[in-house]
Symmetry: C2
Subunit: 475 residues, 2 copies
């Protein structure tokens, strides 16, 4: 469209929100300046670009994760904060390929994860990726028939029929959920606990349909957890196109066997770090407002949307305050948490340190749903007291976000700040648009190309604005 010829005149008289009476003009102007600076001077996008292209994926315990700790600390050092430091924590060290050399299997193929269907007619390769924390088969592959199920209930009905077989969880994310996180929440238990549930009935391994709404060829990895440490069987994700294909092959060639080899393994824990930067509060230095994302990411990609975006936005918030010369009343702290993806060690360690130091963690905001166009904020609120607090914040602060079309809702916040729940901290999740998140989530497509600079920086601005208001007007 060119729009200029016919409707420009009308577009320019578009209505402006009627918030004058509910907002303080000085704060409105400050927030507009935060947005302007985010869209013109923020380093969040260039930082993300550098980390994605020069370091890449950052599995807990990996060299890349260690490099990312050094890189982000050095960038925080450039923006003139009161304090920048590392917070040590032990993290799991899971590796996708534990073999010394690239192993060659009996079919003469090399590579990390390898799966294909074998039958009298055909030999079809399928795209898989081991799930994080899974045991591998080692060089000796499993070769077994596949049984497809949709749910744990269906698995339970089959019971001992899955003994000696590979269980294939083929449950698509519900496309009719408008918020894609709702569909993810409903589907993901298959990925997390599928191996343990199948092992109970004697299955040899599991294959789980990738957690994405998109039909494509990229397997999406993610964490899995063994409920019973004595019953560990291997688990992989298969691409959605691969899942459709596998389902078809099972029906067409019921006698087929799946050749299944993975080389992943869990190694001993290693030391890693949360990266912390802060601007000391002028009135209440021991009262902390934290903003954060997680620095670790899955290995197949660059971890751009998950969660390089949230890390750089959080660092960007502090950079914006520094650029504005803003002296907060409370201490504003940015935390890049380590090991969100397959353990949560950084989040737990951070909460312990707050307690140990006797700090008062008043607010924590997490950005871990990607750097897409901001839609609003989600406030954890429990019981009547939580409801009242939410209503009060909504009335007091939401009018400032009307020009930016953001909303407040009650709901979850983020898993890194979750351990602060016991400390009566106000927990808030940044909510960007969710439609494209699972196109990239935990797959090789999660690269810097998936991130829009403007969308990312609008998120930086939105978070900085909320923190400014909470710091100035209470919480």
């Amino acid at each position: 469209m060119h729009r200029f010829l016919f409707s420009l005149s009308i577009a320019l008289i578009a209505s402006s929100p009627i918030t004058a009476q509910k907002t303080n003009p000085e704060d409105v102007a400050f927030i507009k300046q935060l947005y302007n600076k985010a869209l013109t001077e923020s380093s969040a996008y260039p930082w993300l670009y550098d980390m994605c292209t020069k370091i890449g994926g950052r599995m807990s315990g990996s060299q890349q994760a260690a490099d990312a700790v050094i890189y982000t600390k050095s960038m925080l050092d450039t923006i003139h904060l009161s304090n920048v430091y590392l917070q040590s924590c032990m993290v799991p060290h899971w590796v996708r390929n534990n073999s010394k050399d690239k192993e060659v299997n009996e079919h003469g193929r090399t590579g990390d994860d390898l799966t294909f269907m074998i039958n009298s007619k055909t030999n079809i390769s399928l795209d898989i990726l081991s799930l994080g924390n899974s045991v591998g088969t080692g060089a000796k592959a499993i070769q077994a028939q596949v049984i497809e199920v949709d749910s744990f209930k269906q698995l339970e009905k089959l019971g001992s029929k899955v003994k000696g077989k590979i269980v294939f969880f083929n449950h698509p994310m519900d496309p009719t959920q408008i918020n894609t996180f709702s569909a993810y929440g409903e589907a993901v238990s298959r990925r997390v606990y599928g191996a343990s549930e199948a092992a109970k009935y004697g299955a040899l391994a599991v294959v789980v349909r990738s957690m994405t709404n998109k039909l494509d060829d990229y397997p999406h990895t993610g964490v899995m957890i063994y409920k019973d440490s004595s019953l560990k069987i291997p688990a992989v994700a298969i691409s959605t196109n691969g899942a459709e294909k596998l389902s078809e092959l099972i029906k067409k060639y019921p006698e087929s066997k799946l050749y299944y080899r993975t080389l992943c393994a869990m190694l001993p824990d290693v030391e890693s770090y949360n990266v912390v930067g802060e601007i000391k509060g002028s009135e209440f230095p021991n009262e902390i407002i934290t903003v954060g994302g997680h620095l670790d990411s899955w290995d197949p990609a660059q971890g751009a949307q998950d969660d390089g975006a949230g890390c750089m936005q959080s660092m960007g918030v502090l950079q914006l305050f520094a650029k504005m010369g803003y002296k907060p009343k409370h201490t504003i702290r940015c935390v890049l948490f380590m090991n969100e993806e397959n353990g949560g060690a950084g989040g737990r360690k951070y909460a312990q340190e707050v307690l140990r130091k006797g700090e008062k963690q008043i607010v924590a905001i997490e950005s871990d749903e990607g750097g897409f166009t901001p839609r609003g904020f989600s406030f954890e609120a429990e019981g009547a007291e939580g409801d009242a607090r939410f209503a009060s914040l909504e009335q007091k602060l939401l009018p400032y976000f009307e020009p930016y079309r953001l909303y407040f809702k009650k709901g979850g916040s983020g898993s890194d700040i979750g351990p602060l729940r016991d400390q009566k901290t106000l927990l808030i999740g940044f909510v960007p648009d969710s439609q494209r998140y699972f196109d990239y989530h935990h797959a090789s497509t999660d690269t810097i190309e998936a991130v829009s600079k403007r969308e990312l920086e609008l998120g930086t601005a939105a978070m900085a604005s909320l923190i400014y208001l909470l710091d100035k007007k209470g919480f």
Copy 2:
């Protein structure tokens, strides 16, 4: 993020909007069904995929535009409407390369548009694209010094100093405008009227910085208009990176000349068509609710976001109603307008035909801001009467969109439906998220890869829902 471990339980108790008392449960359920079907059964995305990959860019008067008319009519024929037809209109036929063979210039280079800076030190090629409707230089290139300006005001000050020179409009879109269309509206007069303004002072040609917020190597074309048909000089767009480079070169080598050759030309008008499909109204068949986008597009790309998306969403609205077996009271008509980009012939012809047939065009909705996540609708409203009508619609209909987080605003609608303004039609623009639109707009990057299926189909659902409500509850 995996989110599952810590916050799933809280995410699932997220608040549901308190719209019960303001909405009719039957209509709420119908709208939910429209969304469900759009996200699972709509053909809008597959149609768009086919048109983009099999036909591609669709300049008015081109073979591809003719192919797109046939393709979309044949798709409308598959969805069991009351009536599908073509509406003839004459359109301009501008071509980017009017030479019979690829011409070779004196520097031995071939190609359509060609520009490079020449000086004693260097010879640097720059990425340009002729603006639509521009005259070309022909095989004989212009070679002249370049004068950079930001605005028409600055050009006026320079006056006769630009005589015999090439004028370079290097005004970036304002990054601090949250809605990117506002920044476009402020900047685009340079592209549209720059050549005419510069020609008044004797300039030989113009180069215009591309209308995008992104710094990249893709020139963004678009329409230009000659105010005075006796003073036609050539006009090209230069990529934003190219504009930065050109600006630098002018300062570094003031004696440089720009070699500038374009082979475009305007040929005689040709016959083309609007494509129309409709479901006849059961109570008021002569009262029309129209939904549309424009079928023509610029040539360097596939015209996926601009405006293949709007066309397929409009066809998708009728498909959804057909799938639901909905019998509208008023006639619901989908119109794929021809020639929005460089003339508007289709929009004018459609309005004339409504008058000629004595139809009552009660509502028209246009989708021409891309197939991104829906944010709301923009209603044209003039004077006190317009304001009152808007307020009434907002009160009556907006509660139905609360679960989908859409807003209503007063503002522009769309250029194809603009000619209906005189007929007291309620004009509405579909408003998707604007952040990425100008990354692709009129550039070679506007391909099917730029479109998210979910985002597109949510737009189909939003438009169908609004039309359903207007048809059932009045307007």
